[in-house]
């Protein structure tokens, strides 16, 4: 009797557990396919980047892999090129991120609640650079910046005669590449803020008007707070674009003239695939990844909803 009872409850338990665990496993089955791709080709390489950054290796099959601790970081951070690349990134943060966000906000402030005829057309045009391959953008801008290019042509119409080949100029190349970034990203911020402004409750604008507030009050007390989510998105996208500028630099200047336009991405490429310093390339990649993570965290922290 006692024995039977025990078996019965055991059986019930077993069934219960089995049914439950199968049921519980089902959601994971849906995630596995994506998980396999993501783990194998994003997470694992990311982990391996961290791993590799602690070793010295030339990548040649059979070549010794030597553990060197943080030496790669020390040697990378004591190299002048690294600091050049990072300082160029600062310039790019200005041109890829801050200029487009400011222009987009100015635009949104001008715009708030205005009904625009032909908006779809303008929006389609200014957003266009987002879908064009960077190499095509690079070719187009190389022509614009050449000595006989469009920029000098426009400048000469304005009465400034300038025979400079901008991308080959030691003083101007970095700014010239950076401004291509502004050109790519401004359409995005404008369209983004535009859709955000449309969502803001128009009663808020009326309230400011009734209070006798001017355009500045309107902007700082209604438009800007109302655009908080869009601001987070815009800062995140544009800052990541500023940090992953490898494509644009590679197709316009390849880091030159000299080292005037090198960025972390081109340094990773040079160290890993031109000079076979894989450990150092990996530590550079780690620094880049950490900067991206830190910036994304900082943006969402600074612009978080305050109670």
């Amino acid at each position: 009797m006692k024995f039977q009872q025990a078996t019965k409850t055991d059986l019930v338990n077993l069934k219960f557990i089995r049914g439950l665990s199968l049921q519980r496993l089902i959601p994971y089955l849906y995630i596995i396919p994506a998980g396999v791709f993501f783990t194998a080709f994003v997470l694992w390489p990311l982990f391996q980047t961290m791993n590799l950054s602690l070793f010295e290796w030339t990548g040649i099959i059979g070549a010794p892999v030597t553990f060197v601790g943080l030496n790669n970081y020390v040697s990378i951070l004591s190299e002048a090129y690294t600091w050049m690349a990072l300082s160029h990134t600062l310039v790019f943060i200005l041109t890829f991120s801050i200029i487009p966000v400011c222009l987009g906000l100015t635009f949104a402030a001008l715009f708030s609640r205005e009904k625009i005829v032909g908006l779809v057309f303008f929006r389609t045009v200014i957003f266009l650079p987002q879908v064009i391959a960077s190499v095509v953008i690079g070719v187009a801008w190389r022509w614009v910046y050449q000595d006989l290019g469009t920029l000098n042509q426009v400048l000469s119409v304005l009465g400034i005669s300038e025979g400079r080949a901008w991308l080959g100029d030691f003083e101007w190349a970095l700014v010239a590449v950076g401004l291509i970034g502004s050109w790519v990203m401004t359409g995005l911020t404008m369209v983004l803020f535009l859709s955000g402004v449309g969502r803001i409750d128009s009663d808020l604008y009326d309230a400011v008007k009734i209070d006798g507030g001017g355009a500045f009050r309107e902007f700082f007390s209604v438009t800007l707070p109302g655009l908080r989510p869009e601001l987070i998105v815009a800062m995140t996208i544009t800052l990541i674009a500023a940090l992953r500028s490898f494509d644009l630099v590679f197709v316009t200047t390849k880091g030159g003239p000299g080292k005037e336009t090198i960025v972390p991405g081109t340094e990773i490429y040079r160290l890993a695939f031109r000079e076979n310093y894989l450990g150092e390339a990996a530590s550079m990649a780690m620094i880049l990844a950490l900067i991206i993570l830190a910036l994304v965290r900082t943006i969402s922290f600074l612009l978080r909803e305050r109670q």
Binding site: L128, V136, V233
Partner: protein, 289 residues
């Protein structure tokens, strides 16, 4: 009385302001559009110049040399048709695979509850902010050990891995917004989770899936660093191939321009046809901060 006067003044100044505001807005939009279009117009203009021309600006061509496009397409040392075909092959595998795995995972994250769902989703979202720059070094050697260097599969697999992060994010949002009653009703009818996905949710999910497919196609077509590193010159995809041949080609600037236009054409056509969906997709893509 005074208040009324004030009100009138205010409304008048508003209409005045309205006019100048309108002027400023159209001025701003016009200038912005002009600046955006200038490089593209330059590129188009250069592509129809005489082949020995070196001017790369907006001067009107004496003759329109449309044959530059034929040169770009057929010139022997620049295998543009093959590069474009490679891009097409890569995209035609990456797009359906990414959509499939994203639908499955997005469905699980959007409608099912399970232990660790928030954490796993967070892990996937790392893919939204990590560029290939951060992983390319070990990725290259990983692909080499898999025998996938100079093989289009070596470009496809990592692209699916990276792009499915966005796909999951995008479709989870959509599935989450489904009315729970819809799923509950199917459950009462005894439908399992897969049947709910296949016969209840999927038939109404085509719009966001189409947007996802379009975006993934554009990203896959434009992907640069991975293709540059993994593939050799002759087997590259269109953008990375164009970059490696453009240095060699600077003698024929118009043909290079024509080639660049041809490389951009598929994404531009898609964009013109589906711009509303594409813009919405890209803007929502990084909402996750």
């Amino acid at each position: 009385m005074k208040a009324q006067k004030e009100k009138m003044q205010r409304s008048r100044s508003l209409t005045n302001g309205g006019f100048f505001r309108r002027l400023a807005i159209y001025g701003f939009l016009g200038i912005a559009s002009g600046i955006v279009l200038t490089p593209f117009v330059t590129l188009l203009n250069v592509s129809v110049q005489s082949p020995d021309s070196t001017a790369t600006n907006l001067s009107w061509p004496e003759n329109f040399y449309w044959q530059n496009f034929v040169t770009a397409w057929t010139k022997g040392d620049f295998p543009l048709p093959m590069l474009m075909l490679n891009s097409l092959i890569v995209a035609s595998v990456v797009v359906p695979t990414t959509v499939l795995v994203s639908v499955l995972a997005g469905y699980a994250f959007g409608t099912l509850r399970f232990r660790g769902d928030k954490f796993l989703f967070f892990i996937f979202m790392i893919g939204l902010i990590m560029p290939f720059e951060a992983t390319i070094v070990p990725l290259y050697y990983q692909l080499r050990s898999m025998g996938l260097i100079n093989n289009l599969v070596g470009v496809m697999l990592p692209q699916v891995g990276l792009f499915c992060a966005f796909g999951i994010f995008w479709l989870r949002q959509f599935f989450k917004a489904m009315p729970p009653s819809l799923i509950e009703a199917a459950k009462v009818d005894g439908a399992g989770t897969f049947r709910i996905l296949r016969s209840v949710l999927l038939p109404i999910s085509w719009p966001p899936i189409l947007t996802l497919a379009t975006l993934v196609f554009i990203w896959s077509w434009n992907e640069f660093l991975l293709a540059l590193v993994v593939l050799d010159r002759e087997t590259r995809t269109a953008p990375s191939g164009l970059a490696s041949f453009s240095g060699q080609w600077t003698t024929d600037i118009p043909a290079l321009s024509a080639a660049a236009i041809l490389v951009a054409l598929p994404t531009v056509i898609l964009y013109v046809a589906l711009n509303r969906k594409i813009i919405a997709g890209i803007l929502q893509g990084a909402v996750k901060g």
